[in-house]
């Protein structure tokens, strides 16, 4: 496959996952703030902002307009509309590579979410966009799995999706366990719902909400698709498949990095990391970044000289 195409598929998928993540977080948070808060509503919004716009959050954020800016702000790099546009723009560059069904769905979703002209104080309107993306995202995942060959292109899509998901989860866990100090049961429900995990958690661990158990579930549970462990395993699977297809490439560095990352989330127990959670999460994000760079150098922007040596 063309390197440029692989890159666009990867970014299409990352942007889409980012929009999907934002819609989950906002839906959960919005549901939460309707309840009276034990501590403060601001705290809840603050956590959502920290989960979605790392670095962009400070206590000074105008919380009245936070929903608007996370949903529709055309300037905001992290807004849902911006991410859907990014996904669609990348898809447009590789329309011949993805199935027509995928394109049509993504294109329609893009037109649907951009057709709203939202006022900054129109929470209900913003939530309609969130709902559109929630519904659209599961459908897109289904269509992608069902209408494409599960070949190299698909693996690049998977890689983008899960590397994005792993990073998002780490940022979110950091927001709840490290940055936000006061969390009550409702907030933990909020965190789990933000990861589409509430029901799955209850099935596995009962409805007893213990922070450590929740951390364990969202970080290390290999069976749950919105856990860091599951995401890293999926990245590994995608990279192995891509590596097997391109026998001629020197994949050692990428293999080393994904192997190291996998061991970090496989051979560890929650009580070993819970006290230093921030450091642990930061290390995972950093390793994802290194992996991203290594993949880019190996498959996307390799020097011509290297190509002729192989």
């Amino acid at each position: 496959m063309l390197s440029r195409v692989a890159d666009s598929l990867y970014w299409m998928s990352r942007y889409f996952e980012r929009a999907d993540n934002a819609s989950r977080v906002l839906k959960a948070t919005y549901g939460l703030i309707l309840n009276p808060a034990k501590f403060s509503t601001e705290e809840r919004w603050f956590r959502a902002v920290c989960s979605l716009a790392p670095g962009g959050a400070s206590k000074n954020v105008d919380l009245q307009r936070v929903l608007f800016s996370l949903v529709a702000d055309p300037e905001g790099t992290f807004s849902i509309v911006k991410c859907i546009s990014g996904a669609r723009e990348n898809a447009r560059q590789v329309r011949e590579e993805i199935s027509s069904e995928m394109w049509e769905h993504l294109n329609r979703l893009f037109h649907d979410v951009t057709s709203f002209t939202l006022r900054p104080d129109d929470d209900a309107g913003a939530m309609r966009v969130v709902t559109l993306v929630r519904e659209g995202s599961y459908r897109f995942t289904g269509i992608t799995g069902a209408t494409m060959n599960h070949d190299e292109a698909w693996h690049f899509i998977q890689l983008g999706k899960y590397i994005e998901r792993a990073c998002n989860l780490c940022v979110m866990l950091d927001a709840y366990f490290v940055l936000g100090k006061h969390a009550d049961d409702l907030d933990w429900v909020g965190l789990l719902s933000s990861c589409a995990a509430f029901e799955a958690y209850c099935k596995a661990c009962t409805a007893e909400l213990k922070p450590e158990r929740i951390a364990n579930f969202l970080l290390l549970k290999p069976e749950f698709p919105y856990s860091v462990r599951y995401s890293v395993d999926s990245m590994h699977e995608a990279l192995t498949a891509i590596g097997n297809l391109s026998l001629s490439r020197r994949t050692e560095n990428v293999e080393r990095l994904i192997g190291r990352l996998r061991s970090m989330v496989t051979y560890v127990q929650i009580d070993e990391i819970i006290s230093e959670l921030h450091k642990y999460l930061a290390a995972i994000i950093e390793q994802c970044r290194e992996l991203h760079a290594a993949v880019h150098e190996l498959y996307i922007e390799y020097p011509i000289e290297v190509a002729f040596q192989n």
């Binding site: 496959m1 063309l2 390197s3 440029r4 195409v5 692989a6 447009r92 560059q93 590789v94 329309r95 011949e96 590579e97 027509s100 394109w103 049509e104 294109n107 329609r108 037109h111 951009t114 190299e152 690049f156 891509i242 297809l245 391109s246 001629s248 490439r249 498959y299 996307i300 390799y302 011509i304 190509a307 002729f308 192989n310």
Partner: protein, 490 residues
């Protein structure tokens, strides 16, 4: 009680009330209320469908185009508003007999034009024999000196052609223009067929329409036939200027339908006169390039202008025979509007046959006698710049103002070689669904011709419509739209 209804009471008859004739050949009616045989099923349907139903169908079709992203971008605001390509709901119908003549005529014409290109870039016998003046050939904007003596695979220069035909008031098809460089629009032909089958399934079946869906397969096998020797499993790619090009939808569509890579210039690397594309597996050799980029932008090493759309070194790889282009470079010399005047002579010269399809009478402004004749009665003529396409640089005499005419007169005298003139031809009209009514609009026809080891013409084409009432300009850049074209089985 059952009463016999008068046909004029049927709901659809109302929609036809505004159908009037302006002296052009009408595709549907031979006279008022007398539909031609091939149009009878459609006419019947129209009589029975109310405007509401038509409107609903129109909406359904629009939605289908929109969701498929068959749109072009209107620039000028941040959002990059997207519009669908304007299209008309009603099919244009061509009989088997009419088509048979078109097919023969185009095959003859394209064969001759290809021989002309080969000749012009090699011995130039036709010039030596005085049939076409060298002064016209060598001054063509699209003549490419670099192509002199270059052997092109199979001696085929024009692999993909879209020739514009019009029907004159007698009902005969004549050639208006040859598009031999990078003709576009075929994706609209293919997608609108898909939509029409959804909307008028019954009518479609009843009419026995010949299929066009095989176009992509024929195109692919045509392209593969140009692979350099020894490359039994050639890699064919489509080279696009990128997603900002107005025909980008078509590029992605064709690449997907053919299952080939859609590459941009930056994906290509030339090393030792071999073209490669950068893939995740490393560099992969490219054998045939269906290029949708103009000559001038293909290779910055040969054609100045610092374009980044192509890739440096492509032309040398081509000259070395390591890669094939479709179409070849320099084909624009044969669709120059001044050369057009010589096509009947070109056909006779190479094939020793009379042209099956006639052209439109053409006056060369480089000829003083013809120039004076035309300039004295500009209001009767259409004046065209020779190297332009897309309806740009045109004067339509009957619709022009005195000021426009005098401006053109000056331009003609300043650069006579740059202009030709043709009598205004009343293009035929076909029924179109406009503002809830069915009205006649002027149309042309662009069939697509593929030339590989043989010439293939998919039965159909793009019927372009001048959607503005009375307008004779069908180009999409000038307010034109399209409609599906049905060629009937015998």
């Amino acid at each position: 009680m059952i009463t016999e209804t008068d046909p004029s009471d049927r709901s659809g008859a109302k929609a036809l009330q505004r159908y009037d004739f302006d002296g052009a050949y009408d595709e549907m009616f031979s006279a008022l209320d007398h539909p031609r045989k091939q149009y009878r099923p459609l006419h019947n349907l129209l009589l029975n469908l109310g405007p509401d139903e038509l409107l609903r169908s129109k909406h359904e079709a629009d939605q289908s185009f929109f969701n498929q992203g068959i749109t072009f971008t209107v620039y000028g605001n941040d959002k990059g508003t997207e519009r669908i390509f304007p299209h008309d709901l009603l099919p244009r119908i061509i009989t088997a007999t009419e088509w048979e003549r078109i097919e023969r005529g185009l095959t003859q014409r394209i064969t001759a034009l290809n021989l002309f290109l080969k000749d012009v870039y090699h011995e130039a016998k036709i010039i030596e024999d005085g049939v076409v003046p060298g002064s016209i050939v060598y001054t063509c904007k699209h003549y490419r000196r670099e192509m002199r003596g270059v052997k092109v695979p199979r001696d085929v220069y024009i692999t993909v052609v879209g020739t514009d035909l019009i029907r004159n008031p007698d009902g005969n098809f004549v050639v208006l223009e040859d598009n031999l460089r990078v003709p576009s629009g075929v994706s609209y032909m293919l997608t609108s067929r898909r939509v029409m089958k959804q909307i008028f399934p019954g009518l479609f079946q009843k009419c026995r329409v010949r299929p066009i869906e095989q176009y992509s397969q024929v195109l692919l096998s045509t392209l593969r036939s140009f692979a350099p020797e020894g490359r039994s499993e050639p890699t064919v790619v489509l080279l696009t200027p990128g997603s900002y090009n107005s025909a980008y939808f078509e590029h992605t569509y064709l690449a997907r339908e053919m299952g080939i890579e859609l590459v941009e210039g930056r994906d290509l690397v030339v090393h030792d006169n071999i073209v490669y594309m950068r893939t995740t597996f490393g560099l992969q050799r490219v054998d045939v390039i269906y290029r949708r980029i103009d000559d001038d932008y293909l290779d910055p090493l040969v054609f100045e202008n610092g374009s980044t759309l192509g890739s440096p070194g492509l032309f040398n790889a081509y000259r070395a025979g390591n890669v094939a282009f479709a179409n070849a470079l320099g084909t624009g010399v044969a669709d120059d509007k001044a050369i057009y005047a010589f096509v009947p002579k070109i056909i006779r010269y190479y094939l020793d046959q009379d042209p099956i399809l006639e052209g439109v009478q053409t006056f060369l402004m480089s000829d003083p006698g013809q120039r004076d004749h035309v300039c004295q009665r500009l209001e009767e003529y259409v004046v065209k710049a020779v190297g332009e396409s897309g309806g740009y640089g045109m004067l339509i005499g009957p619709h022009s103002t005195e000021k426009e005419r005098s401006e053109f007169r000056e331009k003609i005298y300043a650069q006579p070689r740059n202009y030709i003139a043709q009598p205004t031809i009343n293009l035929s009209t076909a029924p179109c669904f406009v503002d809830g009514m069915i009205e006649p609009r002027h149309v042309d026809l662009r069939p697509y011709i593929l030339y590989g080891d043989k010439i293939t013409i998919v039965p159909g084409g793009l019927t372009r419509v001048a959607l503005r009432k009375g307008s004779l300009v069908v180009n999409s850049s000038q307010g034109g739209g399209s409609k599906d074209t049905w060629v009937l089985q015998n």
